[in-house]
């Protein structure tokens, strides 16, 4: 049931209209960060307030919402945000990627390809990909306006000179439709290829930094690289020890103090789905289907 003390999806209608207008401009200018008057939310800045405001602006009573953090539905902050919308919007929720119409995520893109009719909402801490190279907003805004991305290439090139490889493993910068350089939020670079050509709408919300941005379906999204040092999505060189998946992103879990460890899918729904279908990994418990 919805909490009657609050408007549907918590935000007042004027705030939702403001966010909605910003989202539409974001879709019209893929990868461009649209300023919006982010509100104080009942959870702290840095804990998904941008994503929550975007989700609140998008939800309809008929939606089914999935919330993940680190790929998992049962991490505490995912649970907390899911409860918030159960309470304030009364929407149905699910842990099944395929059964969700809106998915709010922190740090992962689900393994199962998303489809038309789905919306993926990212929580973004620092939306500005150039921020760690240039702390001033006044400067970075100008750099985007002039399409002046040399600084980013210099940074990546310095990585290559020092380490022999690009030393960015998450929040790996991308170029959208040949124009804006964009921060894909702190997803592992393993997920970067999924950004491009996705059938679902991708929306990004940064509450504290007061920015939203968007990728329309099927947008061309390219991870920045060099010809002689091409972008490389990486993951742990193992199969999932629970479901045996060889192509999903893995969490490394330390199991004892003698160096014992196992690797399991970060996407808990994907892993559970495979196990339910009879797939088994090296350490799957006995008796599981």
């Amino acid at each position: 049931m919805t909490d009657a003390a609050y408007n549907f999806a918590y935000l007042d209608e004027a705030t939702k209209r403001m966010i909605r207008r910003a989202l539409l401009k974001g879709l019209a200018i893929p990868g461009y960060q649209v300023p919006f008057a982010s509100r104080e939310m009942p959870m702290p800045y840095g804990w998904g307030t941008g994503g929550v405001q975007v989700t609140a602006a998008c939800l309809t009573p008929g939606d089914t919402l999935k919330v993940i953090d680190q790929g998992a539905d049962d991490t505490t902050n995912a649970v907390s945000i899911r409860k918030f919308f159960e309470r304030t919007a009364g929407v149905a929720t699910t842990e099944r990627t395929a059964g969700a119409s809106v998915i709010q995520t922190r740090h992962r893109i689900p393994e199962k390809p998303l489809t038309e009719g789905q919306i993926l909402v990212y929580q973004v801490p620092i939306p500005e990909p150039l921020r760690f190279l240039e702390p001033r907003e006044s400067e970075t805004r100008r750099m985007h306006a002039l399409e002046e991305y040399g600084l980013m290439h210099v940074k990546l090139y310095e990585d290559v000179a020092r380490h022999g490889a690009i030393a960015t493993s998450y929040a790996y910068p991308v170029r959208v439709e040949g124009r804006y350089v964009m921060d894909p939020s702190p997803i592992p670079k393993f997920d970067n290829p999924k950004l491009s050509g996705m059938a679902a709408i991708q929306l990004f919300g940064a509450g504290r930094e007061q920015r939203v941005y968007a990728l329309p379906p099927y947008s061309r999204v390219v991870s920045l690289d060099f010809e002689d040092h091409p972008f490389e999505p990486t993951k742990a060189d193992h199969d999932c020890d629970l479901c045996g998946a060889s192509a999903s992103y893995l969490d490394e879990v330390i199991t004892d103090d003698a160096g014992g460890r196992m690797f399991v899918c970060s996407d808990t729904d994907y892993c559970a789905g495979r196990r339910a279908a009879g797939q088994r990994g090296r350490l799957a418990p006995e008796g599981e289907a």
Binding site: Y45, G46, A72, D74, N77, E137, S138, A167
Partner: protein
């Protein structure tokens, strides 16, 4: 055997129950009432109202109780509540010259029309723990005198009359609203003052202190510090005039700063301004020093690279609710990104080891 952690929801519920128990403390001690906090923790209530940007002593007291005395947490509760409130309109500018004064001091003149009023200040208390307060006891009643009928004009207006102060142009422009529009730079003075008024007291204090020690020095004198209550009036379009809708306590500080001048303009003193809800004089003085430091450009001063001169730096980092949220979010799980870093560092080390092996073999 590893089992994917389940039960985040149960853990959260249990944590909330535990928190509620801790908040209450020992049941053998009587519970604090909101009225007690409002009346006896006034300065905490004032800070929560000022930085929460909502003048409501009862709600501020409630927030302090709920936050177990963590003032930033209390400010956060007030901010989150404030955002959901419908807006019926904007008040007319408050006339601080007509303040019913409880405290008024000037460091620049020995006396002035309206007089110096020390008021309820810690200033000349000796900071000795008063063990009498450990036992509950009524305070001695303070001596009283009738209210001074003499008006207390702003002290800087007296200098103004002699043309010694930089002139301020009055304007009816509606300032931008920081809570309704994203912060955009360059920020004009009304917007800067708005951000400073709800900024973190500790942050402003340190910045102001840094200007005194030479990082953007402005040679400030407290021209006037006044605390008291002001009427809040609102224009009612249907009536065609303003009606008083209540009164609020304010602390206002005006500093007199080093003068500037040029070939065309004679030397004049400049000013810094601080205005804070409630009795919050440390904050008001800090605000006026930071305001003055941020005005370097319009006053034709040199940018010495001092933190307090850097508008973008000050405005983007003054808000404690933004700061605390982002700081504390690193408690949240980041193991997906950390895993990606692990893979990368292992790969780089493997490659580096490979290079060394080859070099050794050659």
């Amino acid at each position: 055997m590893y089992v994917a952690t389940k039960g985040g929801e149960r853990a959260i519920d249990a944590a909330h129950q535990w928190l509620a128990e801790e908040r209450r403390g020992s049941p053998s001690v009587p519970e604090l009432s909101i009225a007690q906090i409002r009346e006896q923790m006034t300065l905490a209530v004032n800070r929560v109202m000022a930085e929460g940007s909502l003048y409501d002593p009862d709600l501020a007291a409630l927030a302090i109780k709920q936050a177990r005395g963590d003032l930033i947490e209390a400010i956060f509760l007030i901010r989150a509540y404030r955002t959901t409130l419908p807006r019926f309109g904007a008040s007319a500018p408050v006339e601080t010259g007509g303040m019913a004064i409880t405290r008024r001091i000037s460091a620049t003149f020995k006396d002035a029309p309206g007089g110096q009023v020390l008021g309820p200040t810690f200033d000349y208390t000796h900071r000795l723990l008063d063990f009498k307060l450990m036992a509950e006891g009524a305070a001695q009643e303070a001596a009283r005198k009738p209210a001074d009928p003499e008006p207390a004009p702003h002290i800087l207006s007296l200098l103004d009359r002699d043309g010694l102060m930089e002139p301020l142009a009055a304007t009816d422009d509606t300032p931008r609203d920081l809570t309704r529009e994203p912060l955009e730079l360059p920020a004009d003075r009304p917007l800067r003052l708005q951000a400073l008024a709800r900024g973190d007291e500790g942050f402003l204090l340190s910045l102001a202190y840094s200007t005194q020690r030479g990082y953007g020095r402005t040679h400030a004198f407290v021209g006037e510090l006044r605390i008291g209550t002001c009427a809040v009036e609102m224009e009612i379009p249907e009536l065609g005039f303003a009606v008083e809708i209540g009164e609020i306590e304010l602390t206002e500080c005006e500093t007199v700063n080093q003068f500037t001048g040029s070939k065309t303009e004679p030397p004049q003193f400049t000013r810094g301004y601080g205005l804070v809800m409630g009795q919050s004089e440390r904050k008001a003085i800090s605000m006026s020093l930071v305001d003055r430091a941020l005005r370097w450009e319009e006053l034709g001063e040199e940018n010495t690279g001092a933190p307090a001169q850097d508008t973008e730096f000050v405005l983007y980092h003054a808000d404690n609710i933004q700061a605390t949220g982002f700081l504390e979010h690193i408690k949240l799980p980041h193991y997906v990104d950390f895993q990606s870093e692990l893979e990368l560092i292992r790969k780089l080390r493997r490659e580096a080891a490979g290079v060394q092996m080859r070099e050794a073999a050659e």
